[in-house]
């Protein structure tokens, strides 16, 4: 059929009278001045940022969890550039390459902009848009009956990156569920637990005084790549080394970016950090380099007992364990101690994410106490951490807290409660044996797994990697599961198990995912709710300060959310209002800005000034040195009693003793916020937890004092076994940034790195393909001892000099199969085939054409997803995932070279 001009004219005329097409544009009050229509796109590409037109808005970066103060330049409703905020005392105006990734993820063509509901089976990849009303009504209708029936715990909230500083807790508390789960065990719990055990709950992170230090002893900490607060340390570390000649000594299994800027790098056997630290402690004690006065004043462990305990940990022993020469261990110990107090230790996942990692970190922490650098200039300092509520170290600061009214937290599941009766018998028995203080914190097996009591003893760290297996084992019945910025389906160890559970509607009848992008987790939801990005929302911010002066900042929207995306706080508010039943009274605000203004009501500067600066700090406040030596105010002393034996000052509250200080040399001082007000180098919590959970007293994790034993599966490594370790690329923020083109262009793959000698032994070279087979751990770990392999993966080799020969390393956040074309390196999705979609648009779609690293274009591709082959391996008691222990066997598959290495 052919149409004439006349037909088209008739068609056009008919349309203009119809109402099919509603307007998308409204007349604006601005005057028509057509002369100002730009000449060409090409010319505009050259003038990216017009400072006469752009607005500068300070906010807090959320490219990663470091949370630097930044300034976004906004022009034409777009954030054009992100720069550092010089007022931020932590970042000191610096940023990293990821900061501008926020622009990538705010304005990218594959972002989820609307609430979506699945069509067809879960995980089938078929969706339709629904309105917010439909979405929220459906979710509220699922949730309300749980609350009305008195079973709110059947609503499970599982978050990955929640930086709403307690706003989500407001929602879960108001609903009444204790099942507010996280992913801390995946990340940092093995290193937080030792610190909190030593220094108290207030200090899950330390703040080394790197601006004045002369010596940094780094056990697997990696601020140059990935470390909460890493950027705050980077400039300080480099300045310390370059300007002041400070020595940085790094023990690592691979030449990380931090190792590469260190003065000394020692490639150590995996999980041998504890042996080195204890041998150093022994050297320091033996050679009279310890600050005995400090130890005796502040450590809770007798010096001579400690000396006796160190006896077996000789430098020769440490050499045998780690491969580091005994003479080096002794020399470094001496150098460290002689630099005191301007010296500090540093550690993170490298030392801690092992079966023996909690004890390794305790041994490392002990070094600081031994040389008396704690809280001293250049030393291992502690600075106020969380929102200010007049806690330890926050005296004199304005209170910064969520506006009232606040819901009560759920009640613990103590024996006799309804919830307790729902627990399996063996769990009931275990919990019954817990001290009352622990029972007060017990909320069922998802939130507070009874086999891992130290995952919630100090702080709600949880054991995230066990959530899905526990749901599968029906340790908790679930009706509604809400994941928020969580990537369990991709990034958790044995992620395929999480996917199995998330796909099974009998186990999880209803899954709501709140996120910015369509990742592997959202793909397994029933409803997806589009979250506003960090450039589009409000959040309160506070963290520990490496400048040693507490400060606070505000994240504020630079642009309005795109599409129909909404800030999570608004989502929860609107859900609470729909669920009703009294829940809504905690969400009685219309405008989020009003809510945050009330949050910061006590700041001594007005709200507009705060927004304009983005940061507030009391410049006159003394630095956070020696908080433990600060005197307890007379008024508090007057209300307190003194325990004659421990000399602690305490007050009675709710029938319990709360220590507020300690008397030292007749002076009432604060001490540390631990039960003894001392540094608890010896902590009986560990053997107690072991006894109550059936962990043998001989297990390293049961020790009250820092100790060392080899990781069980490393004890008898055969010649063909290697330790598969993993790491985070410094331009990425785990699996969350693969779709940020800005980051993906820099790093998009994850070869298996190995030392030249390892490659030679395996008969492989860079570019060859190998197959790795992984096994379950030994020792007292989940499913330990099962013989079947956990999984296999194939990947290309990259030979890297400087690696430990027993270690192969592979970054764990490549190889996505969702998250859009950038993350997938142009590969089709699994679901695209399922929905009959022709995924090949490479010739048409510029977005796909830009993926120059795709295999189609002769590139290296987007890497290999490796998390499925990592066994779930929680450390005993604390539950942190032992990411770096995995034993694997390696087989050469092919000698075909990596395309980039072809001649």
């Amino acid at each position: 059929m052919s149409w004439t001009r006349r037909d088209f004219l008739k068609f056009s005329a008919a349309l203009s009278t119809g109402a099919l097409a509603g307007p998308l544009l409204a007349c604006s009050p601005s005057t028509v001045s057509r002369g100002s229509i730009p000449e060409s796109l090409a010319a505009l590409r050259e003038r990216r940022l017009d400072y006469r037109k752009a607005r500068a808005v300070p906010t807090i970066c959320f490219g990663c969890t470091t949370h630097c103060g930044v300034i976004g330049w906004v022009q034409d409703d777009r954030v054009r550039l992100v720069e550092g905020n010089p007022l931020d005392p932590n970042s000191q105006g610096t940023i990293c390459s990821k900061a501008n990734g926020m622009i990538s993820y705010t304005d990218y063509p594959e972002r989820i902009l609307y609430p979506m509901r699945r069509v067809g089976p879960r995980g089938g990849g078929r969706w339709k848009r629904i309105s917010w009303d439909q979405a929220l009504d459906e979710i509220a209708d699922r949730m309300r009956p749980l609350r009305e029936a008195g079973t709110p715990e059947r609503f499970v909230f599982h978050y990955g990156r929640d930086k709403t500083k307690g706003f989500s807790k407001r929602f879960t508390d108001a609903f009444g569920t204790p099942n507010r789960l996280n992913r801390r065990s995946i990340c940092s719990s093995n290193r937080r637990a030792p610190l909190m055990s030593f220094y108290g709950r207030e200090f899950e992170w330390e703040s080394q005084d790197l601006e004045r230090t002369k010596y940094v002893l780094n056990f697997g900490g990696n601020p140059m790549e990935a470390y909460q607060g890493g950027l705050f340390m980077r400039k300080r570390l480099i300045d310390a080394k370059v300007d002041r000649g400070a020595r940085i000594v790094t023990f690592e299994v691979r030449p990380s970016a931090t190792a590469s800027v260190s003065t000394e790098y020692h490639a150590v056997a995996p999980a041998s950090d504890g042996a080195i630290a204890l041998a150093m402690a022994r050297t320091i004690v033996d050679e009279g380099l310890a600050d005995r006065a400090f130890w005796e004043r502040w450590a809770n462990w007798d010096f001579d007992e400690m000396r006796a305990h160190l006896e077996p940990f000789t430098s020769a022993f440490a050499e045998a364990e780690s491969g580091v020469a005994a003479t080096d261990i002794e020399r470094i110990a001496r150098e460290f101690a002689r630099s005191a107090p301007a010296c500090c230790t540093m550690s993170n996942r490298g030392s801690a994410k092992h079966y023996n990692g909690v004890q390794a970190d305790r041994a490392i922490r002990m070094l600081d106490v031994l040389v008396g650098n704690v809280g001293r200039p250049g030393g291992f300092c502690l600075s106020s951490l969380r929102m200010w509520k007049n806690r330890y170290g926050q005296e004199g600061l304005p209170v910064i807290d969520q506006p009232a009214p606040r819901p009560h937290a759920p009640k613990p599941w103590k024996p006799g409660t309804r919830e307790f009766e729902t627990l399996p018998r063996d769990v009931q028995e275990r919990v019954r044996a817990f001290p009352e203080e622990w029972q007060e914190r017990y909320f069922g097996e998802l939130a507070t797994p009874s086999e891992y009591p130290l995952s919630w003893h100090w702080y709600a760290m949880r054991v995230g990697q066990l959530v899905h297996p526990y749901i599968q084992q029906r340790r908790q019945e679930v009706d509604v599961y809400m994941s928020y910025t969580l990537g369990a389906a991709y990034g958790f160890p044995e992620a395929r198990l999480a996917r199995e559970v998330l796909t099974d509607e009998a186990l999880i009848p209803f899954h709501v995912a709140i996120d910015v992008s369509y990742g592997e987790q959202a793909a397994l939801a029933d409803i997806i709710l589009p979250d506003a990005t960090s450039l589009e929302r409000w959040d309160a911010h506070s963290t520990n300060s490496y400048g040693l002066r507490p400060y606070t900042g505000i994240r504020q929207p630079l642009v309005e959310p795109l599409g129909e995306a909404r800030p999570a706080q608004i989502i929860w508010r609107d859900l609470a209002r729909r669920i009703g039943g009294g829940m809504e009274r905690y969400f009685d605000f219309d405008d989020l800005e009003d809510y945050y203004r009330a949050w910061y009501a006590e700041l001594p500067i007005d709200w507009e000034t705060f927004k304009a600066r983005g940061i507030w700090m009391d410049e006159d406040r003394p630095l956070d040195y020696e908080l433990h030596e600060r005197e307890v105010p007379a008024a508090e002393v007057a209300r307190a009693e003194i325990d004659p034996e421990s000399q602690t000052l305490f007050v009675q509250k709710d029938g319990k003793r709360h220590t507020i200080g300690i008397v030292r040399d007749g002076r009432p001082v604060r001490g540390f916020p631990t039960p003894s007000r001392k540094i608890e180098v010896r902590d009986e919590t560990f053997p107690l937890a072991a006894r109550l959970t059936g962990l043998p007293a001989s297990d390293i994790n049961a020790s009250a004092v820092p100790t060392y034993a080899r990781v069980p599966e490393h004890v008898d490594l055969s010649d063909d076994e290697y330790v598969l370790t993993t790491f985070k690329w410094n331009v990425h923020t785990q699996g969350r940034s693969a779709y940020w083109k800005h980051a993906a262009e820099i790093v998009h793959t994850n070869p298996v790195m190995m030392a030249p000698v390892t490659a030679e032994r395996l008969g492989v070279a860079t570019g060859d393909e190998v197959e790795l087979t992984t096994y379950r751990p030994k020792g007292a770990s989940d499913r330990s001892g099962e013989r079947d392999p956990v999984g296999r993966l194939r990947n290309r080799v990259r030979v890297v000099p400087g690696m430990h020969p027993r270690v192969v390393a592979c970054a764990h956040h490549s190889g996505h199969w969702e998250h859009g074309v950038v993350a997938r390196g142009g590969e089709p999705t699994i679901a695209s085939a399922r929905v009959g979609m022709n995924a090949d648009t490479s010739e048409l779609d510029a977005l796909a054409r830009e993926i120059w690293w795709s295999k189609d274009r002769g590139g290296v591709g987007h890497g290999v997803a490796i998390n499925d082959v990592y066994p779930i391996n929680p450390a005993p008691l604390v539950g942190g995932q032992n990411w770096f222990d995995n034993v694997c066997r390696i087989r050469r598959v092919s000698g075909q070279k990596d395309p980039r290495t072809r001649a």
């Binding site: 008919a14 099919l20 590409r45 990538s104 594959e110 848009r129 979609m837 054409r849």
Partner: protein, 196 residues
Amino acid sequence: MPEIRTILSAKERAPIDRLIASLLVREVDRATWIRLREDPIPGFFSIEDPGFRDWIEREPTADRIEALAEEFARLFLLPDGVPPFASAWIEGDREPLAEALSTFIGETMEALGVEPIRVEPWGRLPLDHLALLLELVARAGELEGSEEGASSIQAHLHRELLGPWVAAFGRSLEARATSPIYRGLGSVLVALHGEC
């Protein structure tokens, strides 16, 4: 489909641009389905696909409406679809390009005295969303004859904002859509705004 661009003036094309814009931002609901049956719309989509008329004459059952909604989401709202954004298609480094597009479109809207309407279901559309661009071009087209130089503005907008990519977008839509309405949208876009 003949090249409508050469057959109709910008002003005459404006209602067609609007029709397409509306189909790009909103799913076909029952009411729209019924409107799409009204002559001469079926004839128009049948130029390329003679089966269109039979297809649209079917009963708009809930299942069929849902299937269309699902296809809409797959094509225009989710990753791996046919993103209706200029910045996803125009050749060049994405970020400077997307920024340049925002400036271009922002300044053009200001000059034409218009601003985007934000309502459900589309909310705050990215400025380079094809629907907005079509609406902008339609606006400029409507000024034709009433205001001197409007036609050159329309041509300028077409050359800068649509010409470089809409044909590729349309062809991709033709290739990847399964229903006659979205395949038809692809063909119409090629005919309306193919390469200059």
